[in-house]
Symmetry: C2
Subunit: 360 residues, 2 copies
Amino acid sequence: MSNLRIPGPTPCPEEVLAEMSRQMINHRGPEFARLMESVTAKLKIICQTKNDVLILTGAGTGGLEAAVVNTLSPRDKVLAISIGVFGDRFASIAQEFGAEVIPLQFEWGKAADPKTVRQALEVNPDIKAVLVTHNETSTGVTNNLEEISTLVNEKGKLLLVDAVSSLSSIDLPIDKWHLDVVVSASQKGWMVPPGLAIITMSQKAWQANQNAKMPCFYWDLAKAKSYLEKGQTPWTPAISLFFALDRALDMILQEGLENVFNRHAHIAQKTREGLKAMGIKLFADPEHASNTVTSALIPEGIDGKKLLKTLREKYDIVLSGGQQKLEGKIFRIGHMGWVSDKDIDEALDGLRRALSELRG
Amino acid sequence: MSNLRIPGPTPCPEEVLAEMSRQMINHRGPEFARLMESVTAKLKIICQTKNDVLILTGAGTGGLEAAVVNTLSPRDKVLAISIGVFGDRFASIAQEFGAEVIPLQFEWGKAADPKTVRQALEVNPDIKAVLVTHNETSTGVTNNLEEISTLVNEKGKLLLVDAVSSLSSIDLPIDKWHLDVVVSASQKGWMVPPGLAIITMSQKAWQANQNAKMPCFYWDLAKAKSYLEKGQTPWTPAISLFFALDRALDMILQEGLENVFNRHAHIAQKTREGLKAMGIKLFADPEHASNTVTSALIPEGIDGKKLLKTLREKYDIVLSGGQQKLEGKIFRIGHMGWVSDKDIDEALDGLRRALSELRG
C-alpha cells in the first residue's frame, strides 16, 4: 500500500473501508432513514452547528455549485475572494450561473488580507454575498475566516465558505463564526472515499434560498432538506459512502474534536520543520500555513515531475505537484484525516532519499 | 441479507462489493488513468457505441441534468415525452434550466405512442430536442425507443434518452439506433452501488454542446471529455465505485451481452407469470412490460403499506411501492443486474405467504 500523501483523496482506515463493501439497502426504507439520522446528528457535532447539514452525492465541486445556485440569482453581485485554484473555481461557478463576480485575488501563497476585504465591501455596497475559501488546497494556506466572517456579517452580507479541505481537521465553529453556507467533501479530513459533499445552511442562507433564481435541480437543497425530514435524499444516494461516513464520524468523535484538531496542527508543524531541516523552502506564508496540506518549493536543480515519479515508483510515496501556474514550481504533502507521525516520517525520509538520488 | 427486489439500488455481487473496500489511490496518477481507460473501453462495448462515454460522480438524476445543460439553451423548444415519474422529472429539469418544454404525456402504465410523437414533431417544427425515457421505472414500461428514434432522426432533432434502468439489461444499441445522449446509473443493471452516472454523447450531441448556453459547471461534459483524454475526471471521482464498476463490467462481458439481455427477459417473464398465477393483476401494458421492473396492482382488500412491511419484516424481501399518483395502488419488483431465478422464486413465495397471511 502506498503512503498516499496528497491533499485528498486521503487514505481511509480499515474499519471505514470495510463498511464500503456492505450490501445495498433500500434508500427509501427504515434502515437508510436510521443511517441518515445517525450521520446527520454526528455531522452537526463535528461541524459545531445547529444549522441544517445536508449530504449530497457528488464531489466537493458539486457542493460549491450547490452553495451558489441555492442562494443566488443571476446578476447578483458577489465578492469572490481568491488565494488560489479553488478560490478561482468558486468564482467561476458563480460567474457561469450569471452572478456579477467581483474578483478579489491575493498573491498565491498568501492569505486574504481582511483590510482589503473590508475595502472591497465598502466600495461595493450592493454586494449580496461573499465567496471565500477557508483552506486553499492548491497553495497550502488557511485564511483568517473568523476575521473575514466578522466583516461580512457586519455588512449583512451572505458568506459562502469552501471548507472542503478544512472542516473536521481544522477548528471551524460554524455557529460561533456565523457562517451561512459551508461546504466540505468526504475524501478530505473525513477519512472516507470521495463521492459525498457535505453542506451546512444557516437561517440567513435559507432566507436567501427563497429568493434565489439560479436554475437548480440536482443540487436543490430545499428539496434535500424536505427529504431529510423523512430520512431520505431526493435522488438515489451513494449508500456505501453513507455507511463509511457513519463509521468515520464515530472515529472522529471517539478521538475527540479537540484532539483531532491538535493532531493536525502537530503533524503540520512536524511536516514543515522536517522540510526546512532538509533545506527545502516552504511556499505558504508561515503565518497562514495550512494544517492539512503543506506546500514547498521544488529545490533548485530538481525536476519536479521526476521527483514525484521517483517517490512514487521507488518509495511508494505519493505526493502532489503544483496546480496551474504553480505546476513545476511546488510540491504538496497532504496530511489530513487518517494521518500519523509515522506516515510523515516515512514521507520525509523518502523525500530525503529521492532528492539525494536525483542530485546524484 | 435481504432479498432486495427494488428497481435500484440492486444487490451487488460479492466480487464487486470486495472492490469497494480497496484503499484510495491518487485520482491524478497513472493507476487511476489505467482504471479510467479500462472502464471506458468496456462501457463502450456494453453500450454498443463508438460515441464518447463519460462517467460522472452523482446519481442518475445528475446524469439527466448533464444531458440537458450540455446540449440545450434557455428558450430552446423541447418535446418531453413522459410515461411516468422519470419522464416528468426529465421534463422538469429542462424546464428549470429555461427550456420551453412541450409536454407529451401518456397514460401511466402505457408506452408512448409513436404516432402521437410524430404528430407532435410535425405540429412543432421548431422543436430542437426530444426527451424520452427508455424504461420507465415508476410504471414498469419500456418505450419503443427504436421507433421513436427513427422519427426524431428523420426530423433532424436531437434525442436525449433516460436509459437509467435499461442500459446493460435491455438491448439498447446506441449507434444502430442513432441515440445522441444516453444516460444510465451505476446502481441499476450495472450491479454496482449508487454514485456514478454514465452518459454517452454522439457527434451531433457534441455539435449541440458547442452552442448550448444553459449554465453548466459541475456537469460540464466537454471538460469531462478533455480530462478523460489524460485518464482523469475534472473533479475528484468516487474512486471506489470505479473499482467496483470495472469488476462488474468484467462480469457482464464474461456472461455475454446477449446472455445478459436474455436472462433479464426470462426473469421478467417468470416474474409476470408468477404474479398472474397468484391472481395478481399486472399494471403495465403487456405489450411493453419492462424486463427490469415489474409493476402490479395491489390486490383488492390489501393495504399496500402493510404488504410491503410484512414482506420486509417477516420474509426479508424488499419490494417497492408506487410513486406519486400510483402510491398505494401498485407495487414493483425489481429484477435487473444481479438477479437469478432463485431470487424471484423466493420473492414470489414470500409474496404468496404474506398475502395469505394478510387475508387472514
